[in-house]
Symmetry: C2
Subunit: 416 residues, 2 copies
Amino acid sequence: MIDFKRKSWVSGADSSEFPIQNLPFGIYNTASKSKRVGVAIGSQILDLAALVKVGVLNIPMNVLENSSLNDFIALGKSVTNKVRLDLADLLDVNNKEFAARADLAQFFDNMSEATMHMPVQVGDYTDFYSSRDHATNVGKMFRDPANALLPNWLHLPVGYHGRASSIVISGASYHRPKGQTKPVETEPPVYGPSKRMDFELEVAFVIGKETQLGQSISTKQAEDHIFGLVLFNDLSARDIQQWEYVPLGPFLAKNFCSVISPWIVTIEALDAFRVEGEKQDPKVLPYLEFEGKKNYDIKLEVSLTPENGEETIVSKSNFKYMYWNMCQQLAHHTVNGCNMRVGDMLASGTISGPEKHEFGSMLELAWKGTEPIPMKDGTTRVFMNDNDTCILRGFGEKDGVKIGFGECVSTLLPAI
Amino acid sequence: MIDFKRKSWVSGADSSEFPIQNLPFGIYNTASKSKRVGVAIGSQILDLAALVKVGVLNIPMNVLENSSLNDFIALGKSVTNKVRLDLADLLDVNNKEFAARADLAQFFDNMSEATMHMPVQVGDYTDFYSSRDHATNVGKMFRDPANALLPNWLHLPVGYHGRASSIVISGASYHRPKGQTKPVETEPPVYGPSKRMDFELEVAFVIGKETQLGQSISTKQAEDHIFGLVLFNDLSARDIQQWEYVPLGPFLAKNFCSVISPWIVTIEALDAFRVEGEKQDPKVLPYLEFEGKKNYDIKLEVSLTPENGEETIVSKSNFKYMYWNMCQQLAHHTVNGCNMRVGDMLASGTISGPEKHEFGSMLELAWKGTEPIPMKDGTTRVFMNDNDTCILRGFGEKDGVKIGFGECVSTLLPAI
């Protein structure tokens, strides 16, 4: 049970998206420190290796002075959850002793002076397609409006493998991808920069416990295998996708760049935001059945900012809108014996809500280019323009306390 | 120019699939040696670290005493090609000096006493769909016989992302996967072991030179980025695939196990087997144009062996049947700026020839179950039975010299 009344002595932490109740993990470096494991608190980063050096924490140093969290996560929840609880005790407003240490400064780095890095080495990345509203919207636009959902959609969490190498950390700039498209149905395909650059608002979870080939994870076991969550922008070139995706799925439309938020928020930190999901009808097969609240009320938003321009919020959605929850996704992914490794990333698919302003992609927001999205500067968008910056944000909120992810920022540069 | 007259003093090497002209790389260990880089010669493995210890080779030891070839490959072709040439000089029948060394035994291990391991850590795995006969056969069976090839197929090498974690080395046993299928069109889906277990005869290439996000590799540059090739069995559960694959492609039908041959045969060792591919009509877009012979005449075969039974060769195909060559695949894969890492694996897709006995999957050989495949023991197969062992073999041949890959062996165990 998380105590939302609890306060920290760290200045500004309580009102930030990284209060004492969050304590997410990341990888950072500074001008004087090599890459290492850090924990966010307010606008500060707690340096775990520095705490080990003075004997306040007891974790192998090579796990902490490391370029990824994989080895730390692999220690298991019995260790990583205890670290979070121990850190909360250090940072608690009532811990006058720790707050009064003369050597306190060595444990903290200012976020503004740190560089964040990919928190995990992603072995494999899977993208699901688990928002009913998103799948319905896409089906209406590109297939049969009367039968928008394909026959399998309500029976299993449809998913596909994505590219791990092109997942990068927030703050990325990427070039508009070039490729084949077929703008005129009756003409041959053409080569050139994509003209339909889109974001996709997603949340991804990070695997915390490995399995071997042949082993399955039940919906009941699933949460024990989920370390935490990040925001995920599954950038997409819609025109490339439309031409290439039959019959084997999206490929070059997706693998030029995907962007994640810098901090992995543990699933334990999100416990207070559990809610029921939509009732699943038809009834799912037994291996997809689950008990309890497996959806999460996490508010999500997407903004676009033109170069030197003003930011416009273009979508406000919520992670609670998932039809298939993470436990079902993981149970389905491993029902055939597919092995999971620590650091693997499984994304939700675009998270759209039922209302138009809750759609999680420009494709849907501008309804395939027919309903331009107004920007604060008076311009409109149907897809992203060169030099547009896209920001995803997300947080759970209870008793005035916000548990956030940090921004997931990316800027579209012109084609090379 | 490879000298096919050249002989080795290593007993049996000249008539084996690992003659002095091949010298492929792998990772092995023995009872007394930890995992390390080895080179196949005849029925022996050359221990490169042992050669460094006596000063015969000059490569950093940590690159060779390593659980994967990634660091070795990353040294670049200027190093790895020179190693192969230097080793050939050591093993040449005219090198009486090296062959007469008193300490010769320490450089060699018997293959029969060694365990082979995954040669590379695969960051990302991509599977193409580049055999015209295979794509046509599948299109005829599952879609429209009159329009078997989908509209994009002749314009680009269709591909999709696969699972890297489930790629294993030859010798693997794997369990029949369970999952959702829809055996009766008008009934709801059911859960259970796959009833349509298939092999797919493929060849995969291994990336030898990394690129950064945003960077493309031209068809002209492509071979400089290809370290070598392996045989690849893309095991498939056809009934799971048929139900799940719309609209985002194959997923659980493929990621329960894929099997590769143990030795990476360098692209340089295959140079003598270059042939012209099929003329591409319609003309491809400029970024897919190429010069020279980019297909390879590599004979391929697949056999099935029941438990305690006799082996039956069920397919004889050839790598030369690829419509899209590796240079085109790599140029296409990176035209959007997708980054490649050393060790990434890109597979051909099932390689079928025009004749029925050249089809590269049971789906095609038994034509969707309608034409059972006769086995030597009098039984028949339309898909694989429990405890069937499947073996892929492949070699190029010139002047009586065979350049082979080693067998790619896997056994289907009953469902758990």
